[in-house]
């Protein structure tokens, strides 16, 4: 068949720039943030990025809302740590660098096993079955303590076998670079997946499964294959986590972990490929840093999630892309005053609400430590009415101001969007 169109495949410069930047960031990050804590956090971010991206293969690309993704990361972790133990016993000869692949294969194996059942149906039924499957595995983790290690979990030493070129994986930074390599390759492969026939048909199944059946595809098979691939990368992430922490406990297959993947993939943005990367980074920041700052961090997280679902269901990635579009039409400058106003008023709300939340938590958890709470440099007294009234006053004032600025912003935003739509129409007709 003769080509009916002018085909030219340009050397995609933009793509090379982005991937090179990504690689450079991975290489340089531990040099810039070189404390033990930050190197460990960076390593965890790599792990979380792979996990969230693999989760989004189901959620964002396949329209499958899974409540049990931790089953595959978690079982990957368990298999990897057992492999590590076998290596140290000398029963298995495997370089530590390849142990994450054991996790990946385990994740894939269990996805083949469980996915056959879960992917039979889509939509609500799929979500329910994954939930059940998650509970099942979590319950089993408490029953079979030989494999899952019971309460204490399974521990292993990652410094085993011969050092290859001086790499023992003793120092955290060596583990970081192992994780960085896996992260880069996994992200690249998962991106490549979105450009394959299977990846595209998966999008079609998400959009309109019924129609897919009438263009020759078995939707169940498409979902199943995607599920297996997602399971593989989830397992890789789990395997890396086993090496990073040298301990695996039952919570890694638990529902809270599954919920975490869902929550942060959504926060990062399920509709764009890079969304879950943001989600993975936020996940580690929240779990490691945020949880240090306040005991009420889960509550804040829940509130953020709530507002995100209500006001920006496309997550942070979609917010970025929406603003990039505005910027592409040269209209972003008009908005910065509004953004500043929104941020300031939101901070006022946060200050008021934060003071109240911290006082409530203090009353519930640490009354023995006295009545005073330090918050944003102010000492609040949980027994004094003025602290409570002050908090309420600040919060309500902030809410009022925020609502006013929000309405103004919405008007400005929709005016700009209308202009952009007109401009697009105009360019189309030219």
């Amino acid at each position: 068949m003769a080509s009916t169109h002018y085909s030219f495949k340009p050397y995609n410069v933009g793509r090379w720039v982005i991937w090179s930047l990504f690689a450079i960031i991975l290489v340089l990050a531990p040099m810039v943030f070189d404390s033990n804590l930050s190197v460990s956090m960076l390593a965890q971010m790599g792990i979380a990025i792979i996990a969230c991206l693999s989760y989004n293969m189901l959620l964002g690309q396949g329209g499958m809302l899974s409540f049990g993704h931790a089953v595959y990361t978690g079982l990957g972790s368990y298999m990897a740590i057992h492999a590590l133990l076998r290596v140290s016993e000398g029963a298995l000869s495997l370089p530590v660098s390849l142990v994450p692949l054991v996790g990946g294969l385990a994740g894939m194996f269990f996805a083949i096993l469980f996915g056959y059942v879960t992917t039979k149906k889509a939509g609500t039924t799929f979500a329910m079955i994954t939930l059940g499957m998650g509970e099942l595995v979590f319950a089993m983790s408490l029953m079979f303590s030989e494999f899952f290690g019971g309460e204490a979990g399974v521990t292993a030493d990652r410094v085993v076998g011969d050092a290859v070129m001086g790499i023992t994986y003793g120092p955290g930074v060596q583990v970081y670079y192992l994780i960085a390599v896996y992260t880069f390759v996994s992200v690249a492969l998962m991106f490549a997946f979105t450009r394959t026939p299977l990846g595209r048909i998966l999008n079609a199944v998400r959009d309109n499964p019924e129609r897919v059946e009438f263009i020759g595809y078995n939707t169940q098979m498409v979902r199943y294959l995607a599920f297996i691939i997602a399971g593989f990368f989830a397992g890789i992430s789990g395997g890396l986590a086993a090496i990073q922490f040298e301990i695996v406990t039952a919570e890694v297959v638990g529902p809270i972990r599954s919920g975490g993947y869902l929550l942060f993939t959504f926060l990062g943005g399920a509709t764009f490929f890079f969304g879950p990367i943001i989600g993975g980074i936020l996940m580690v920041l929240a779990f490691v840093l945020f949880s240090e700052i306040t005991k009420a961090w889960l509550l804040y997280l829940g509130l953020i999630f709530l507002f995100m679902v209500m006001y920006a269901p496309g997550g942070i990635a979609s917010l970025i892309m929406m603003n990039l579009r505005v910027a592409a039409f040269g209209r972003l400058r008009e908005l910065w005053v509004s953004y500043l106003a929104l941020a300031l008023t939101a901070l006022v709300v946060l200050a008021g609400a934060g003071a109240l939340i911290e006082m409530v938590y203090h009353l519930q958890l640490s009354t023995a430590m006295g009545d005073s709470v330090k918050f944003l440099g102010v000492t609040l007294n949980t027994q004094a009415a003025d602290s409570w009234f002050g908090g309420v006053f600040v919060m309500l004032t902030g809410m009022g101001l925020f609502e006013v600025t929000r309405r103004m912003f919405i008007r400005q935003w929709s005016a700009i969007q209308t202009d952009i739509e007109k401009e697009i129409k105009r360019r189309e007709t030219q």
Binding site: H5, S7, R200, I215, E428
Partner: protein
């Protein structure tokens, strides 16, 4: 300009079909034998016999609720028949899944537009092409490198006159454009038997007549079954008309014969034609 375009495009489409046409070479492309379908205790299809020759254009007409759409759903595998047989190119297909039937060379469109809203026009068409070109569940090749699939999708885009909307998301198209895309996806896989369920539903008169030209053009050499309410369209497009009333085919003949058939006059056509005449007098 469009007519100049039409000929080479149509030839291309015909050459593409040859790979599929062997399955109904000669004989009947599609055959229904004593087909029944019950929903619970309600009998919707009550013993339909119909034999469509390869390359024939058949319009199925009948009052609302006569079972026309159900008939399409049975043929395309959406529902399994309660009893009776459906043969596609001589092979029994009843009870098969929609994707199996599609792979055997039958494709359908839907009365309510059924496209991939969040994919671009080009991606919609490329999805429709992939299976028939043998890419199936391919994981180790990039879409961008599949020259035959990309060429075919571009070609389809020109055929349905959406080449200017290449990157537009399907959900942002106008209604008429979406209907055209619906047809595009339906013919994308090169199936030899095409079922169109009310392709012009909801279109204006002028859109309809242009659309019928398009349908005629893109289904050259194919066996076509269409459910249609617009009698102008029916008599203009079809070689044969099947009249379905209350779950039965009461007549299956050329348009002239059907028009003259007293049984049809009585059961259905009389009232419709009278309505149309009344409407045209009214204008």
């Amino acid at each position: 300009m469009s007519t100049q375009h039409a000929t080479p495009v149509a030839t291309n489409a015909a050459s593409f079909d040859q790979s599929m046409s062997h399955i109904h070479a000669g004989g009947y492309a599609l055959e229904l034998r004593r087909l029944h379908k019950n929903f619970g205790k309600t009998e919707i299809i009550r013993g339909v016999d119909l034999a469509v020759r390869s390359g024939e254009r058949v319009a199925i007409i009948g009052p609302n609720g006569a079972g026309k759409s159900t008939l399409f759903n049975l043929i395309s595998g959406r529902f399994a028949p309660t009893s009776g047989d459906i043969l596609l190119g001589g092979q029994r297909i009843n009870g098969k899944k929609p994707f199996e039937i599609n792979r055997m060379g039958l494709s359908r469109s839907f009365q309510i537009t059924n496209i991939f809203p969040k994919l671009s026009v080009f991606e919609n068409l490329r999805c429709g092409v992939l299976w028939s070109l043998g890419y199936k569940y391919t994981l180790f090749r990039f879409l961008a490198d599949l020259d035959d699939a990309n060429d075919r999708a571009e070609e389809l885009m020109q055929m349905i006159r959406l080449d200017k909307k290449r990157e537009v998301l399907a959900m942002n198209l106008t209604y008429a454009e979406q209907r055209a895309l619906e047809i595009g996806i339906t013919i994308a896989g090169g199936a030899g038997v095409i079922l169109l369920d009310e392709p012009t539903a909801g279109m204006s008169k002028s859109e309809t007549s242009r659309f019928i030209d398009l349908i005629r053009e893109v289904t050259v050499g194919k066996t076509l079954l269409t459910v249609e309410h617009d009698m102008g369209v029916v008599f203009g497009l079809a070689d044969k008309i099947a009249v379905v009333v209350y779950g039965e085919v009461i007549a299956f003949d050329t348009p002239e014969a059907v028009r003259a058939n007293p049984k049809v006059q009585e059961a259905y056509l009389g009232s419709v034609l009278a309505d149309e005449q009344a409407a045209s007098v009214g204008h």
